[in-house]
C-alpha cells in the first residue's frame, strides 16, 4: 500500500467534561474509499470535524502528506485540499447552481481595475461539470432548490473535485436519500475515487459502505473498534461491530436479519 495522504493519530477531543473522542486513529490513501462507520453518538461527526478544521483536537497528531498539520479554521483545511460535503449544508437552495458551485471560489475578471464575478466562465464550467455528472440543468441560473437531494450531493461533490480536493469527506451523503438517488451518489463516489482522490465516507448504513468501501473503520463511544479491509469482513460482522456486538446479535435474531 502506498503512503497515506492523511494520518490521524490518537485524536482526542474533549468538550468540557465530555470526552467525545478518546484516541481515534485513521489513515487514508489516495484513490481509496475509507468508510467511517458507527452508530449515532459514536463520534463520527466530531472526528471528521477535526479533520476538516472545524474543531481543534485536544490531543493527537495529524499528518497531511507526511507533514504534521494544524488546522486553525475550515479555510486552512480547504486550502490544503480537504473538502467536506455535509449532508444538508452542502448547498444554498435559493441561489443558482452556478453561484453555489463557485461559492467561496468565485472566478474574477478585471474590468478597469475592478474585479467582477465572471458569470460567463462560471456558467460554462457549471454546465460542463453538471453534464459530466449526469445532471440535466435547465440552465446555470436554475436554483439549487429545484434539485433533488441526491443531485445536490452530486453537485457538492463535483464542486469539491473541481476545486482540487485531494481528500473528500462525505458526511452521511446517503442517509436522507431514496434508493435511486443513493445509487447515483455511490456511483459518483466510485468515479471520484477512480480519479485518485481519497474519499472518507461516513455512514451508518453497512450496505452503502460495502457497496463502495475499500477499508472500513468502526467507531464506538469515541474509540476506534478496528479497521478492516474489503473482502476480509462480512456485512454482518461489520453490523455487529457497529452496534456493540452482543445485544445486536440477539436483536438481529428476533428481527429476522432485517436490520
Amino acid at each position: 500500500m502506498t503512503e497515506p495522504i492523511i494520518q490521524m493519530k490518537n485524536i482526542e477531543k474533549h468538550f468540557g467534561a465530555v470526552i467525545a473522542l478518546a484516541g481515534v486513529s485513521l489513515d487514508v490513501v489516495a484513490g481509496e474509499c475509507h468508510c467511517l462507520l458507527g452508530d449515532n453518538g459514536a463520534g463520527k461527526s466530531t472526528f471528521i470535524k477535526t479533520m476538516s478544521g472545524v474543531h481543534k483536537p485536544t490531543k493527537g497528531e495529524i499528518f497531511f502528506e507526511g507533514k504534521p498539520m494544524q488546522f486553525e479554521r475550515p479555510r486552512d483545511a480547504i486550502t490544503a485540499g480537504i473538502a467536506t460535503v455535509y449532508q444538508d449544508l452542502a448547498m444554498i437552495p435559493l441561489m443558482s447552481v452556478s453561484r453555489n458551485f463557485f461559492m467561496g471560489n468565485e472566478p474574477l475578471k478585471k474590468i478597469a481595475g475592478i474585479s467582477f464575478f465572471d458569470h460567463k466562465f462560471a456558467n460554462e464550467v457549471t454546465m460542463a461539470e453538471m453534464k459530466k455528472m449526469g445532471i440535466n440543468l435547465r440552465g446555470p441560473d436554475q436554483a439549487v432548490g429545484t434539485l433533488s437531494g441526491g443531485e445536490r450531493q452530486t453537485v457538492a461533490i463535483a464542486r469539491a473535485v473541481h476545486f482540487g480536493a485531494k481528500i473528500l469527506i462525505l458526511d452521511e451523503p446517503t442517509s436522507a436519500l431514496g434508493v435511486r438517488q443513493t445509487a447515483n451518489v455511490l456511483t459518483t463516489v466510485d468515479r471520484v475515487r477512480n480519479e485518485g482522490i481519497a474519499v472518507v465516507f461516513i455512514t451508518h448504513n453497512v450496505r452503502h459502505a460495502m457497496a463502495v468501501g475499500d477499508r472500513f473503520t468502526v467507531l464506538d463511544r469515541g474509540k476506534t473498534l478496528g479497521t478492516a479491509v474489503r473482502g476480509e469482513i462480512t456485512p454482518e460482522e461489520l453490523q455487529n461491530m457497529m452496534a456493540g456486538g452482543q445485544e445486536m446479535a440477539t436483536l438481529e435474531g428476533s428481527l429476522g436479519g432485517t436490520v
Binding site: 475550515p74 479555510r75 480547504i78 467536506t84 455535509y86 449544508l89 452542502a90 448547498m91 444554498i92 437552495p93 435559493l94 441561489m95 453561484r99 463557485f102 461559492m103 467561496g104 471560489n105 468565485e106 474574477l108 474585479s115 467582477f116 464575478f117 458569470h119 460567463k120 456558467n123 460554462e124 454546465m127 460542463a128 453538471m130 453534464k131 440535466n136 440543468l137 435547465r138 440552465g139 446555470p140 441560473d141 436554483a143 432548490g145 429545484t146
Partner: protein
C-alpha cells in the same frame, strides 16, 4: 446572460425537467412585482392627478426627491436583508447623525466637513457594533437593533438637550457656507443645463420676485444623485462581484456559506456598516436641506426602508432580493405619498394603502419563493 451558454451546452432533455413558461421565468425575477406595481401606480396617478401639477417639472421634482430619500435608506436595508439581517435602528441613526453634525458644527464650531466625517465615523462604528453583537451573541438582529433604536434615540435627545437645551439645532446652513464637503449633500447639479432649458423655453421660470427669470427647478438635488449612485453601486456589488455572491450566501444559509469558506461574519458586519452609511447620507442631506437638525428626525424610517425592500421582492428571511426592486419599492412609496397629496386625498389613507401593499407584496414573495425552491 445565461441563455447563450445554455444553447451551446444543451444537455439531452430530461423528461422530468419541465420547460418553464416565459411567464414563470419572468415571475421569479425579484423585481417583477415592483415593476408591475410602479407601472400601475404611475398609470393610476396619470389618470387621477394629471391636472394637479403632479407631472409638471416642479411636481415631478417633489416626488422624485421624496422617493430618493426612501431609496437611499432602502438600498442599505436591501443589502442587509439579503445578507440575512435587519436593522431597526436606521431611523434613530438618522436623528443621531443629524444631531452630531449640528452640535459639532454649530455649538462647538467645528468646520462642517469635519462634522460630517465625524457623523459618518460614529454612525458606521455603531453599525459595526450592532453587527458585532448580532454575530457574537447569535441573537436575532431584529432584537439587537431594536435595542439600538431606543439607545440611539435617547442618546440623541439627551445629547441635544445637554449641549444646547433644545432638541432642534439650527444654523447649520450658515455654518456650511463655503464648506467643501457640504455641497456634496445639500447642493444641486446641472444648474447650467436647467437654466439653459429655461432660456430656450422648455422650462418655466419665475415671473416675479427676487428669483425672476430663474427656472423653477434649478437643478438635480444631490439627494437624487446619491440615490442613483447608491442604486448603481448596490446593484453592481450584489450581482456582479464576488462580494455580492457572499451576501447572497450569508443570507441564504450562513452555516453552509461558512463551510464553503465565505467570511460570513465580515459580510454581515460590513452590511450593518453600509446601512449606517446610507442612514448618515440621508441625515446629512436632510440637515443641509433644512439648515437644522432635530432629535426626532427619521422616526419610523426603518420600517419604511424595510417595506420598500419587501415590495421590491426581497425575502424577509434573507438570501434573495434585488436592489433595483428595492429602489422601485421606494419609488412607489414616494410617488403614492406625494400623489395622494396632489390628488387631494386624505393623507391618513396613505397608511392604509401601505399596509395593504405590504401584505400583497409579502404574499407574492412567498409564492415566488415556493416557485424557486420547488417547496410545496
Amino acid at each position: 446572460m445565461a441563455s447563450d451558454v445554455k444553447k451551446s451546452a444543451a444537455p439531452p432533455e430530461d423528461e422530468r425537467v419541465k420547460e418553464m413558461s416565459r411567464f414563470s421565468k419572468a415571475l421569479i425575477r425579484p423585481e417583477l412585482g415592483a415593476i408591475t406595481g410602479a407601472i400601475l401606480v404611475f398609470m393610476f396617478f396619470l389618470a387621477v392627478a394629471r391636472d394637479t401639477g403632479m407631472f409638471s417639472p416642479e411636481g415631478a421634482m417633489t416626488w422624485s426627491t421624496v422617493s430618493a430619500q426612501f431609496i437611499i435608506i432602502a438600498v442599505g436595508a436591501c443589502l442587509l436583508m439579503i445578507a440575512g439581517e435587519f436593522d431597526l435602528s436606521v431611523g434613530s441613526m438618522i436623528g443621531f447623525a443629524g444631531i452630531v453634525i449640528a452640535i459639532t458644527s454649530v455649538s462647538w464650531g467645528w468646520p462642517v466637513w469635519l462634522s460630517i466625517m465625524t457623523a459618518f465615523f460614529l454612525a458606521m462604528s455603531i453599525g459595526a457594533l450592532n453587527g458585532y453583537i448580532v454575530i457574537k451573541t447569535g441573537l436575532p438582529s431584529f432584537i439587537v437593533s431594536l435595542a439600538f433604536l431606543y439607545i440611539l434615540r435617547g442618546l440623541t435627545i439627551f445629547g441635544a438637550i445637554a449641549t444646547t437645551r433644545r432638541t432642534i439645532i439650527g444654523g447649520v446652513r450658515e455654518a456650511a457656507e463655503g464648506d467643501w464637503l457640504a455641497p456634496l449633500f445639500g447642493g444641486t447639479i446641472l444648474t447650467g443645463s436647467f437654466q439653459w432649458l429655461a432660456d430656450i423655453g422648455l422650462l418655466d421660470t419665475f415671473s416675479r420676485g427676487s428669483r425672476e427669470g430663474q427656472p423653477i427647478v434649478d437643478g438635480i438635488p444631490m439627494l437624487i444623485v446619491w440615490a442613483v449612485g447608491l442604486i448603481v453601486f448596490g446593484h453592481i456589488l450584489l450581482t456582479r462581484t464576488r462580494f455580492g455572491n457572499w451576501i447572497y450566501a450569508s443570507g441564504g444559509d450562513a452555516q453552509a456559506a461558512r463551510y464553503a469558506g465565505v467570511p460570513v461574519n465580515r459580510v454581515k458586519i460590513l452590511m450593518f456598516m453600509f446601512t449606517a452609511f446610507c442612514a448618515t447620507v440621508f441625515a446629512t442631506a436632510q440637515v443641509m436641506e433644512f439648515g437644522s437638525a432635530a432629535a426626532d428626525r427619521g422616526l419610523l424610517k426603518e420600517f419604511e426602508a424595510i417595506i420598500s425592500v419587501v415590495i421590491g421582492g426581497a425575502l424577509l428571511t434573507g438570501g434573495y432580493g434585488s436592489v433595483i426592486g428595492a429602489a422601485l419599492g421606494a419609488l412607489i412609496f414616494g410617488v403614492v405619498q406625494q400623489g395622494l397629496f396632489f390628488a387631494g386625498v386624505e393623507s391618513s389613507l396613505f397608511r392604509v394603502f401601505l399596509g395593504i401593499i405590504l401584505l400583497l407584496a409579502v404574499i407574492l414573495n412567498t409564492y415566488i419563493r415556493r416557485m424557486i425552491t420547488g417547496e410545496k
